[in-house]
């Protein structure tokens, strides 16, 4: 098993965060930075990954990236901020720091196999529009498989 920490170390090492030339292409491309000026800034977030990781793992900003990939597409140094933020969140998650909103959606995914909950009578409504049934959850065997792949430890981490 590739340890997440190894993967993070490799991404950080191979793409060398020190290659960042502070051009700000990431922040200039970022929809979150546009919507939340002064609050969200991927360029500074990247600096904190290498300079102040323990503090970053406690921060809310780490969970704000909307994974649109514009920064990754445009970084002239080939740094992949989007994937780095996802991996950094893995470290926060290991410390038990998963914000409540994302946690609730993941619990729904582990319960029903979908991120949006489906009411029991929903198929009747779909039927009225000539659409085939989808069921309130995906098949029980599929739910069992996905829970097994995700594993007991992680299910506990989500309280799922």
């Amino acid at each position: 098993m590739v340890n997440t920490k190894d993967l993070l170390a490799r991404l950080l090492d191979e793409k060398k965060l020190s290659y960042c030339q502070d051009c700000g292409s990431c922040t200039g491309s970022c929809p979150m930075a546009k919507a939340l000026p002064g609050m969200y800034n991927p360029r500074r977030l990247l600096q904190r990954v290498s300079q102040n990781l323990p503090e970053l793992l406690k921060s809310e900003e780490l969970w704000l990236c909307a994974w649109c990939y514009r920064c990754t597409e445009r970084c002239p140094q080939g740094i992949q901020p989007t994937e780095i933020f996802l991996l950094t969140r893995n470290l926060a998650s290991k410390e038990g720091r998963i914000p409540e909103n994302p946690k609730a959606i993941m619990r729904e995914i582990m319960r029903s196999g979908r991120s949006v909950s489906v009411p029991n009578d929903f198929d009747e409504w779909r039927g009225e529009y000539g659409l085939p049934p989808i069921g309130a959850t995906i098949s029980p065997k599929a739910i069992e498989e996905q829970r097994k792949i995700f594993g007991e430890d992680l299910l506990r981490r989500l309280d799922a």
């Binding site: 590739v2 196999g113 995700f150």
Partner: protein, 297 residues
């Protein structure tokens, strides 16, 4: 006969039934068979499950790819976020043998394996590749002359280019070409390739407010461009830009009245499919005035 394995996703099949109806009506006309299964799990958004555990997130996404390989059919998603997640998993596994090995160890525990031969398409990419704009123009028996459409690309249909491989990352053109193939005019505007934050940020109030702020910028720009409607590719974008109009009316008294439809709606209308078959009466922003002006009702 062309055949796809449909990856229904949750937003389209639960929140955007109109889009699903239009998609089914159009593919029925095109004689494309859509096979279905009841055991796909969620595409496992990278911003959620992969954020908690990278490998297990990838394994869960790849379980869907393994199922498609067993069926020996290309996958087709309705949602750009599903398309993005599935394409990302395929790219990461195909380019990193050690990650593929680890993911397959996890899949092996449930008797599955990812080999790497699956093809992943989105409704829009499949239409572009299988028919091409020229091919669709020939099918357009009732061209939508006079419709000024604002294409809204969303993100994961074309970003990042290395995962999706569909269009140019800075100046995507393919949705414009598809829209033009129906006889409509594709309007150029600044926010054409903006992000709506619909599928990616689940932090709660902060994310929602950020999404609404971007929706306002996008809607203001579309209004200024003089477009009649936004033509989107992703159900998340559709939801954000429709619900955004409702919220901005409540909070700021802004009246946009800009219908948000999908490319399959435009294609369907140009092929002579009736508006009700396309579920256009299910749209949150009334499409009736536009349909009247285009003599479709």
């Amino acid at each position: 006969m062309t055949e796809y394995l449909l990856f229904p996703g949750c937003v389209a099949s639960v929140r955007e039934l109109g889009y699903e109806m239009a998609m089914r009506a159009v593919f029925k006309r095109l004689d494309v068979n859509l096979r279905q299964r009841d055991d796909f799990n969620c595409c496992m958004p990278a911003c959620l499950v992969h954020s908690v555990d990278y490998e297990r997130g990838l394994a869960l996404t790849s379980r869907n790819l393994a199922i498609a390989e067993q069926e020996d059919l290309p996958l087709m998603t309705l949602c750009s976020s599903c398309f993005g997640n599935l394409s990302r998993a395929k790219y990461l596994l195909d380019h990193n043998p050690e990650i593929k090995e680890d993911v397959n160890k996890l899949l092996g525990e449930v008797g599955r394996e990812y080999k790497g031969k699956v093809r992943i398409e989105h409704v829009v990419t499949s239409l572009y590749k299988d028919y091409s704009p020229d091919g669709l123009r020939e099918l357009s028996v009732k061209p939508l002359t006079g419709l000024r459409a604002a294409p809204f690309y969303g993100c994961h249909l074309f970003l990042p280019q290395r995962y999706s491989g569909f269009d140019d990352a800075e100046f995507p053109q393919k949705l414009d070409r598809l829209i033009e193939s129906t006889g409509a005019t594709s309007i150029d505007y600044h926010e054409k390739t903006a992000c709506c934050i619909g599928c990616g940020s689940f932090f709660g109030k902060v994310s929602e407010e950020a999404g609404l702020k971007l929706a306002e910028t996008i809607l203001d720009d579309v209004k200024e461009s003089g477009a009649d409607a936004i033509v989107a590719t992703c159900p998340f974008c559709m939801m954000q830009l429709e619900v955004g109009q409702i919220k901005l009316k409540e909070s700021k008294g802004k009246e946009y009245g800009i219908p948000v439809i999908h490319f399959v709606d435009v294609l369907g209308l140009s092929m002579g499919v009736k508006p009700e078959e396309l579920g256009l009466d299910l749209r949150r922003v009334d499409v009736t005035p536009l349909l009247k002006r285009l003599n479709r009702i």
